[in-house]
Amino acid sequence: MAILELNIDKRLKPILEKVSDPEIPVLSILQMGVVRSAHLFDGKVIVKITPTYSGCPAMDVIGEDINKAMEENGYKSKVELVLSPAWTTDWITEKGRNALAKYGIAPPLDALADKAALLDNKKIVKCTNCGSTNTIVVSQFGSTACKALFKCEDCKEPFDYFKCLK
């Protein structure tokens, strides 16, 4: 993550911090780890973003939102999509993970725990409503491709779990 932060021009950071993921509005695209780099070249801003999932419909909107935010701050900008290196859930920052949980989406576990939770029905995903780990998978795919649907057996609340992508 530290390496990624270095690639973002300090003057542009506060602007990008205000652009959110349209599917998860509590999370900025920086916390999400979607911005690969942002630089100023001859007065023009070039922002490189990477998709979380290949078919993520939010990418087009994120691109438009970045351009709009830059324009409001007097910058001309261009958004480029890069595929490599591929995005991983490890790039979601600590603040981002906390924001996810507060919003009602359980943040991703590490790869092994993720597999155990999704495939072997191990009860380790924490309910975002009551904090219990007495939870079960309802569906491996949830409201978007990046999430799975869980249900808490204690408080009976359904919730989303952000799947680990490595």
Binding site: S54, S84, T88, F141
Partner: protein, 250 residues
């Protein structure tokens, strides 16, 4: 233009487009809400991947064609997907067996494509393989659940395996463009994946208490543009909007 590379990209990409279209047909028609959402999410992943491939193909073609032209405006004989992915959603057993038979291949294939000397294909493969590992988990899970389920679900699954098995061998056929790209270190020599493919499948089939079909005859043709009778219908639905309202934008 590098015509072997262009053809090779389409050979990889068309499988994603056509399977994505088949899964998309289930939007709002899945057997229950969760499988409906899963199938359409997998479809979305495949469409995302196919965009990356077609954008690259358009660049390789070097003329005015766009990713949309490639997806929407080719005649039937120019699509080079394997016959397996165009088979219809006869019932959920067919949908999930088709998915499983393709997912195992797709997963092994993308692992190898990450070794390609072509940087773009390497990057798309890395990105996609993460997604496809989830597809494979999903379909394997359902094979076991339904194969080892009730008598009716067991019989339906066995029937779907028996019917779709003849389309599996084509996954490992190579065209002239494939061979050309293999010799340059760009393409995957799929012949080398065949052993592992059938062994993974057999393992899951056995766990699901099903029988591996014993078949000597296999169907082929899709990779050369010769499709099954289902394909025209699929294509007319896929292309309708662009044919009726050329250059229409969403």
């Amino acid at each position: 233009m590098n015509s072997s590379l262009y053809k090779y990209i389409l050979g990889v990409a068309d499988n994603c487009l056509i399977l994505g279209q088949r899964l998309g047909e289930l939007c709002g028609h899945g057997p229950n809400l969760e499988t409906d959402i899963a199938c359409t999410n997998i479809s979305l992943d495949l469409f995302g991947q196919v965009r990356s491939y077609y954008q690259y193909a358009a660049k390789v073609a070097g003329d005015n064609r766009t990713e949309d032209d490639i997806a929407m405006l080719r005649p039937e004989r120019e699509y080079v997907n394997v016959l397996l992915v165009e088979q219809p959603n006869t019932d959920f057993a067919f949908t999930i067996v088709r998915q499983f038979l393709f997912d195992v291949y797709h997963y092994l294939f993308l692992n190898e494509l990450q070794k390609s000397k072509d940087e773009t294909l390497h990057a798309i493969a890395r990105k996609s393989s993460k997604e496809v590992s989830y597809h494979l988990r999903f379909s394997s899970d359902w094979i076991k659940r339904l194969g080892d389920g009730t008598e009716e679900s067991h019989n339906k699954m066995q029937n779907a395996f028996n019917e779709l098995w003849k389309y599996t061998d084509e996954l490992f056929h190579l065209t002239d463009a494939d061979l050309d790209m293999i010799s340059q270190g760009i393409a995957v020599d799929t012949r080398g994946l065949k052993g592992e493919y059938y062994s993974i499948i057999t393992e899951v089939i056995e766990e699901a208490k099903l029988k591996t079909p014993d078949l000597k005859y296999f169907q082929k043709g899709g990779k050369l543009g010769v499709h099954t009778e289902h394909f025209g219908y699929l294509l007319s639905e896929l292309q309708y909007m662009q044919r009726a309202y050329p250059k229409m934008q969403w």
